[in-house]
Amino acid sequence: MILVNEEPLGWHEGMTVRDILRARNYRFPMLVIHVNEVLVPKKDYDTTLVPDGAAVKVIHLISGG
């Protein structure tokens, strides 16, 4: 189990940041993502593994209007 924006999400072996985005249907292109307080660059979303128990912050920048 991991926490994504303070809400639980099931974890699986080999889970990447990209998997989290898919699971949550996070489609907004301007995100700031931290895994256990470490910033993940956009180019590394596919390759960055998320450990079990991680606290993940997916900050969506302001949109709208």
Partner: protein, 742 residues
């Protein structure tokens, strides 16, 4: 997560120079014009962003005078919306209403407006007493008029009085002539009128881009929701295009004054006309930003391809797209009107900025639309847009997913002079009333206002433009429709009030706020009404969970409305602030504020005016104007806590269908937020629990926000706050507040 990739092979092959032309009768229209008043004046260019004079025109008495811009005006009100509110305050009394002669329309671009080195610097703010809200409305608009007005010599234009004839105000900023002309036979609707006037007042073909026209259309004469079109000449398409000052019915005021159009002829635009104090810093800041757009836009919001419509599918994915009068947040047919479609339908590879030098270029256009209804049936037109608000408001919120009908609705809104946001929200309200039996065919005069019935929707709009039938009632807006339906006994008053999405008399713009308390405040705790240009906090609050406490939400509802206000003081567009961000923005301490861009704005203001400011000063500048506007509202008999009340549809689920569409989420909130067990309770019982909880926390949010803003719990700025901001220098302002402080 799928990132839309632009596929040039799918772009429709439409000749964007082809459209129906309207110039045949130009000479006869011109010959019918009669000069009522003409004066000469000395044109001048700005110095450090200011011309230091404003123009006053009374369209009733034909008085034309100049007024000086004082140092106090610059220090307290900056420009743009600030100048508009200042002039309007001095023009009206507490008893003045929108259709009184003393009401004004003030157009002011702001000190930075008109530079060409940075994106999004051609905006004007239009201020007037609103027919919908009875308080000042401010509307932010692109196009060329504001900058050309300034380059003709004026920091603002005040329009007062009422004419007994249709008139045109022409300002020739090259020859130094200001003329009021009677215009007895001019076309009524914007797309015809602006094309005719642009060619009428241009001296030759090369002069066409130096002309800008402000106009409205037929519906503004018969409704309270009229807007103003500000034109800009599109050299590639060889046509006039528009940006809109949409909100609050300023177009209605315009026609009530019998103004047919404003026309300015400015000097040929060049990069140095604003005469900034430090042109090198402006150039350097602009180059850095253009590079950022060029390098980053393709992997971020794709504004250059899609414009603001890029968020249609994003709002849908996050359950935030208004569907069926804000009942639901997504719809399976959204793909028909999302950006993957508009990418193909809007002309690409052309210049789509609404002011020179805007590399964001989001002013997309759909060419080659052949109209299917109305007075221009069969005509081929270019549609400005669709913007997100139009796709969501005219589209999903009314259940219209046919893109050509959506474009036609968009086109007619524009040419008739109707605010698309307002029209979308009021039509969605009408359709839900139809669904629930509050309205029926008899009450609508035969219009079958079912979800997605675009033909009935268009017919209602044509009726509005003709001043006939149910269209005329709809044109009063949601607030007055609610009163009308209730007065006639056409349904449950509470249901009507719950589902009519207006606050202060203004219709909500197109975002679902039900699941974000901060956004509920972002809409309702505004000065002018529920427009998203003060604070858009849904992601921060609902998705990111960045605002867990009332104090956090209040801080966001302090900072962002002030930050956003500042754009309208200076002539900036909001979009370049956050619709593209620097590559290293993620590593900044407050990435959601886009700190590098905030610094850009600080630098641009300082470099223009020569007055060094900090990012904290920026907020202070806004706070002066924002609080002045709040006091202005109070002076007009509004502006208190009770006027910030929100319709329940914006706070929570009104109907069973709404509740059950999100039952898991809502049931869970009964457990986690209320400490109760939803098991065994009926949907109605659970809805009642939610209403109590949601209205209670909204009330608590009001307390928190008012306190943070330095206001009483009734929403009145305190004397201490006025003093902090230097507004105690205005005895009239202090007097208004004193009457409301015990």
């Amino acid at each position: 997560m799928s990132q839309l990739v632009f596929d040039p092979s799918k772009v429709m092959d439409i000749d964007y120079t082809q459209r129906t032309e309207y110039l045949e009768g130009l000479e006869a229209i011109k010959a019918a014009h009669k000069v009522l008043k003409e004066i000469t004046y000395a044109p001048s260019l700005p110095d450090k962003g200011y011309t230091n004079r404003t123009l006053y025109v009374n369209v009733g008495t034909h008085e034309i005078t100049e007024k000086p811009v004082t140092q106090q005006m610059k220090d307290v009100f900056i420009g743009g919306r600030g100048f508009g509110l200042y002039h309007l305050w001095n023009a009206v009394k507490p008893t003045t209403r929108w259709n009184d002669p003393e009401n004004e329309i003030v157009i002011s671009p702001g000190p930075v407006a008109g530079i060409t080195q940075y994106a999004g610097t051609g905006k004007s703010l239009v201020v007037s007493l609103s027919p919908q809200t009875d308080i000042p409305i401010d509307s932010n608009v692109g196009g060329f008029y504001g900058p050309l007005l300034k380059f003709s010599g004026f920091d603002a234009l005040e329009l007062q009085g009422k004419s007994d004839k249709d008139i045109i105000l022409f300002i020739d900023g090259v020859k130094g002539i200001i003329r009021i002309e009677e215009a007895p036979t001019d076309p009524v609707d914007s797309h015809v009128l602006a094309e005719v006037l642009t060619h009428m007042y241009a001296e030759n073909e090369k002069d066409l881009p130096n002309i800008s026209v402000v106009s409205t259309g037929a519906a503004a004469e018969h409704s309270l929701i009229g807007m103003l079109n500000f034109s800009f000449y599109d050299r590639r398409r060889k046509c006039v295009r528009f940006k809109q000052a949409g909100r609050g019915g300023i177009g209605t005021v315009f026609r009530d004054k019998r103004i047919r159009a404003l026309v300015v002829r400015g000097p040929k635009v060049a990069g140095d006309l604003n005469h900034p104090a430090d042109p090198e810093t402006i150039a350097k800041t602009g180059i850095k930003y253009h590079k950022e757009i060029r390098e980053n836009d393709g992997t971020q919001c794709m504004m250059r391809r899609n414009g603001t419509a890029h968020i249609v599918e994003i709002m849908d994915a996050y359950d935030l797209l208004p569907v069926h009068n804000f009942q639901f947040g997504s719809h399976p047919d959204v793909h028909k009107i999302d950006s993957s479609y508009w990418q193909q339908r809007c002309t690409q590879h052309t210049v789509d900025g609404c002011w020179y030098g805007c590399s964001m270029a989001c002013a997309k256009g759909a060419d080659g639309l052949v109209l299917r209804t109305g007075p221009y049936k069969g005509h081929m037109v270019t549609v400005d847009g669709p913007e997100y608000e139009n796709a969501a408001g005219l589209g999903s919120n009314c259940g219209v997913f046919d893109p050509d009908y959506l474009l036609e609705l968009n086109f007619y809104c524009d040419t008739y002079g109707i605010c698309t946001i307002t029209y979308g929200t009021l039509t969605a309200f009408v359709m839900e009333c139809y669904q629930r039996g509050i309205l029926n065919k008899e009450r609508t005069g035969g219009l079958e206002m079912t979800w997605g019935n675009a033909e009935a929707d268009l017919e209602m709009m044509h009726q509005m433009a003709r001043g006939e039938g149910f269209g005329k009632i709809a044109g009063l807006g949601v607030k007055k429709m609610k009163e009308h339906f209730i007065k006639n006994g056409w349904g449950d008053p509470q249901l009507i009030n719950d589902i009519g999405m207006e606050n202060k008399g203004l219709e909500y713009s197109q975002y679902m706020s039900k699941e974000s308390l901060a956004q509920q405040g972002g809409y309702a705790l505004t000065n002018k009404g529920p427009q998203h240009d003060e604070a858009w906090l849904i992601f921060m609050d609902m998705v990111n969970k960045q605002l867990p406490t009332f104090e956090d939400k209040a801080e966001a509802l302090y900072y962002f409305p002030l930050f956003r206000t500042w754009f309208g003081l200076n002539g900036f567009c909001k979009l370049p602030w956050n619709d593209v961000v620097p590559a290293d923005n993620a590593s900044q301490p407050e990435p959601h504020k886009v700190p590098e861009h905030v610094q850009n704005y600080v630098d641009l203001f300082s470099a223009t005016t020569g007055i060094k400011i900090t990012k904290e000063d920026l907020i202070l500048q806004s706070a002066k104007v924002y609080n002045f506007q709040r006091v202005f509202n109070i002076r007009m008999g509004k502006g208190l806590r009770l006027h910030d009340a929100a319709p329940y549809r914006s706070l929570g689920p009104v109907t069973k269908e709404e509740y059950e569409s999100r039952a898991e989420r809502y049931d869970q909130q009964i457990v986690t937020e209320m400490g109760l067990d939803p098991a065994g309770k009926t949907t109605e019982e659970k809805m009642a629990l939610h209403r109590e909880w949601r209205t209670g926390r909204f009330s608590k949010l009001m307390d928190s926000v008012y306190t943070r803003r330095g206001w009483t719990l009734d929403g009145v700025p305190t004397l201490e706050r006025l003093k902090e901001l230097g507004l105690d220098a205005f005895p009239e302002v202090v007097d208004v507040v004193k009457q409301h402080l015990s």
